[in-house]
């Protein structure tokens, strides 16, 4: 696995160098076709620039990012769909290139996790509130004056630590 990603990186570097030679002949206004340009921005914002610290292909100024942007532009012009372009990038560079990790067994927890947290959080909240209501139900409700007194005790602070929290 590791060896593979190294070769890929090397391939990317070689490609970056090779493409740079052809840089000067690029078509002038890069934004001739606004729709294609929008698609290019959307796709390249999903992809990682592999030679950078932590940057998208859209954001990076590195040569590799420029070349990949040009390559994607070419693929858009050749009529490929967004998915086809992204699939192509994954076959070349692996999942590492995707800032939106694919849904598979390794990333299962990553994608399900937030939902799981939410469900567990809300369930715990419900359970806690029910249990709390039940615990407080066991004691008889306080009269207004008693409640005020209990709160004053509760707030007072330091001297007696015993049982003031459980006053109601």
């Amino acid at each position: 696995m590791k060896a593979l990603s190294c070769t890929r990186l090397l391939a990317a570097l070689v490609l970056a160098l090779a493409c740079q030679l052809g840089l000067a002949e690029e078509a002038r206004p890069l934004a001739d076709d606004p729709v294609a340009e929008k698609r290019l921005q959307a796709i390249s914002a999903e992809l990682r620039c592999l030679v950078c610290q932590n940057e998208t292909i859209a954001g990076s100024n590195a040569d590799l990012a420029k070349d990949l942007r040009r390559e994607i532009r070419g693929m858009i012009q050749a009529g490929q769909s967004d998915q086809q372009i992204i699939d192509f990038m994954v076959t070349r560079y692996g999942d590492f290139v995707l800032y939106r990790p694919p849904f598979k067994s390794v990333t299962l927890l990553l994608w399900v996790g937030p939902l799981l947290f939410l469900v567990v959080g809300i369930a715990a909240l419900q359970l806690y509130m029910r249990r709390r209501a039940r615990l407080l139900q066991d004691s008889r409700p306080l009269s207004e004056a008693e409640a005020r007194q209990a709160e004053a005790l509760l707030a007072e602070g330091s001297n007696d630590t015993q049982g003031k929290g459980t006053a109601p």
């Binding site: 999903e46 937030p114 715990a124 509760l154 330091s158 459980t166």
Partner: protein
């Protein structure tokens, strides 16, 4: 000589921290007055020693003492003075010393502003802070000593990372660290309360202003970092969900939950255990952030494995702090009462829901940040988790939170009526709905995300205004509206201002996300490019000499309606000491939009006077993002100026319950 003095002060502070920490805690436990009395001067001595050490390092930077390795690696004789002073925190060792400096100053502030705190409580708080300081000092001295010498010294320093040579660097890290480290005070109060068994409303009132101040610093620090990235990195973004950013965002999320939970504990005596847990978590996440950023684990799990000294130390420290606090919590928590009774729908239950959602959000950020590291460490491959992931999972958690933000202030303590609130707020919701459906068409197209964002922002604004007006009307009597409004307690003003800040922030995020435009073009002198009605005419590039760099400085005319509005100067800088060229974007900022130009590379490197790759952006409402953060901080500031914190802990003054009853 001066670096040795600093080193000596730092070494001396180690036993001071240990001694004060142990004696203060033991003294409070055994009720030994002389030991308790030691805490205050002890913490002050610690602050003095660390400050001396810090100033000595600063002096070494100012004097260009390149025989100190750290200075030689992070400074240069050509570096302007302000960056030499800020350069102290430009690298690993120095940032840790800054961390330590902030910690000792927070302890110092506690000794100054807690005159009314009972002595044993103060001793426990300071003792805890000193023990944390001991851990950090040990870390600095054993693994990251900034005073280490190289003899003979080198002739010239390597220079500060050019990315950091910016006014943003001068402000961003100290703000951020003040926030990070500030949560240590909330943590120390929580530990002190657990140790003494005095988990009560008074404790919540003592620790609340400290927590808010730390939160204000963290908010400003994060906003500052985001703004800095926006104008300095040249890619036009304001947040990348980078692990380093997440490391500061997680304590912020939990800190925000803590603020709200403390409100309940103070007013109603409820959620005490939960509040303590949040205080412990906020500080633990600050430590985790320090670990992530400082251990090198983020750059590469494998690099971390080959030189794990620092990482392992912080990890051990982290485990000790979290483990000890949780053990203490488990020991003490069962004896803490439930507090006041409240209904399933009440101010309390809504604030608890706020807390759960914020905790879920924190868990999500934590998961996304650590997941690629775990996958890599377990040799399951390499994956990237970036903005598309976080945006996708974060929005669904935040949307209900923002919605409930509008409801919360209307709910009464103990028991609230859904029907009553629904009757009050249905118009606000209707108006927000209309805004969400129509307003986007003014900007072109309607998308669900823009609609949702505007719905929530309008909703928060309307409900805040409504609640404010309602409260003022209810209390004004014969007084004029303005007079009555000004008489409202400051915490009330603060809350609404902070909530409005969130609305402003949401507008910024929504609009820039929905309607920003960018063009990536190749421009020669005289060429023009247009985004969203703004034209940019490229006039060419000139060579400009800076103090320690050479810049290629672009001249770009910004045209509005065909007329020249102003001249913009994006730069590409080459620092003498670095191979990496730096981008300085030129921004025309405005209330409703920024326009932003950054220089890429010359198309032909031998002809810089020719064509350049240029990026131009139109960023609607982008400054509202940081404006919202500033409003939130301002809200926090006004809230802690509330009258009731001025007599914190003083006997005989109104207790929270008396106030609530009044």
């Amino acid at each position: 000589m001066i670096p040795e003095l600093g080193h000596f002060a730092l070494i001396l502070s180690l036993p001071v921290a240990a001694l004060v920490g142990v004696l203060a805690l033991l003294g409070a436990h055994r009720n030994r007055a002389p030991w308790i009395a030691l805490a205050k001067p002890g913490a002050q001595a610690l602050a003095l020693l660390v400050t001396v050490a810090y100033l000595c390092l600063t002096q070494a930077f100012i004097a260009n003492d390149f025989s100190v390795i750290y200075v030689a690696q992070h400074s240069n004789s050509l570096l302007p003075l302000q960056y030499r002073i800020a350069g102290v925190w430009g690298g690993h060792e120095g940032s840790l010393l800054l961390w330590m400096l902030m910690l000792s100053w927070w302890a110092l502030l506690v000794t100054w502003f807690s005159r009314n705190l009972p002595a044993p409580m103060l001793a426990r708080v300071l003792g805890t802070l000193c023990l944390v300081a001991f851990g950090f000092l040990l870390f600095i001295l054993l693994t990251s000593n900034p005073f280490e010498r190289i003899l003979p010294g080198v002739a010239e320093g390597k220079d500060l990372n050019p990315l950091l040579q910016d006014p943003g660097l001068i402000i961003h890290p100290p703000l951020l660290y003040m926030g990070y480290v500030g949560f240590s005070v909330a943590y120390a109060f929580a530990v002190a309360a657990l140790l003494s068994g005095q988990l009560d409303a008074a404790w919540a009132r003592w620790s609340r202003p400290w927590t808010v101040v730390a939160w204000i610093f963290l908010t400003l620090g994060i906003a500052m970092g985001s703004w800095w990235a926006y104008y300095e990195l040249g890619w036009g973004g304001w947040w990348f969900w980078d692990p380093v950013e997440n490391a500061s965002f997680m304590p912020w999320l939990i800190g925000t939950a803590l603020l709200h939970s403390l409100a309940v504990t103070e007013k109603r005596g409820s959620f005490k255990n939960w509040t303590v847990l949040l205080a412990i978590s906020a500080f633990s996440l600050s430590l985790l952030g320090t670990f992530l950023v400082r251990s090198g684990v983020l750059t590469s799990v494998h690099a971390f494995a080959t030189d794990p000294t620092r990482g392992v130390f912080i990890l051990a420290f982290l485990v000790t702090v979290i483990g000890a606090s949780l053990a203490l919590f488990v020991w003490r928590a069962p004896s803490v009462g439930l507090g006041g009774r409240f209904g399933l729908f009440s101010r309390e239950s809504l604030l608890l829901t706020n807390n759960v959602l914020l905790a879920v959000a924190t868990g999500t950020v934590l998961l996304g940040t650590l997941y690629p590291l775990l996958v890599d460490a377990l040799a399951l491959g390499k994956i990237s988790v970036g903005p598309p992931y976080f945006n996708a999972v974060f929005a669904p958690i935040m949307a209900p939170l923002l919605f409930l933000m509008g409801v919360g202030p209307f709910a009464r303590w103990k028991h609230a009526s859904i029907a009553e609130i629904a009757r009050l707020l249905k118009w606000a919701l209707a108006v927000a709905g209309v805004v969400a459906v129509t307003l986007p068409f003014l900007y072109g197209s309607w998308t669900p995300l823009v609609g949702l964002g505007l719905l929530l922002a309008t909703w928060i604004t309307l409900t805040a205004v409504l609640h404010f007006v309602q409260r003022v009307q209810a209390t004004r009597g014969d007084a004029g509206f303005l007079a009555a409004a000004l008489r409202q307690p400051r915490h009330f003003w603060g809350m609404h201002l902070a909530h409005l800040g969130v609305a402003v922030f949401v507008v910024g995020v929504t609009m820039v996300g929905g309607y920003e435009e960018e063009k990536d073009v190749k421009m020669g002198p005289g060429d023009t490019v247009t985004v969203s009605g703004y034209s940019f005419r490229f006039l060419g590039v000139q060579r400009v000499e800076g103090p320690n760099y050479v810049a290629m400085r672009g001249e770009v005319e910004l045209l509005k309606n065909g007329k020249v509005d102003r001249l913009l100067h994006p730069e590409k800088r080459n620092y003498h000491s670095s191979m990496m060229p730096m981008t300085e974007a030129a921004i025309d900022a405005g209330l409703l939009r920024d326009v932003y130009v950054s220089l890429g590379e010359p198309i032909d490197r031998d002809q810089p006077e020719g064509e350049w790759a240029v990026r131009v952006y139109y960023k609607p409402f982008v400054d509202w993002i940081w404006g919202g953060c500033v409003l939130m901080s301002l809200g926090g500031l006004i809230a802690i100026l509330d009258r009731r914190y001025r007599n914190v802990g003083r006997r005989g003054t109104a207790t929270p319950a008396q106030e609530a009853a009044a």
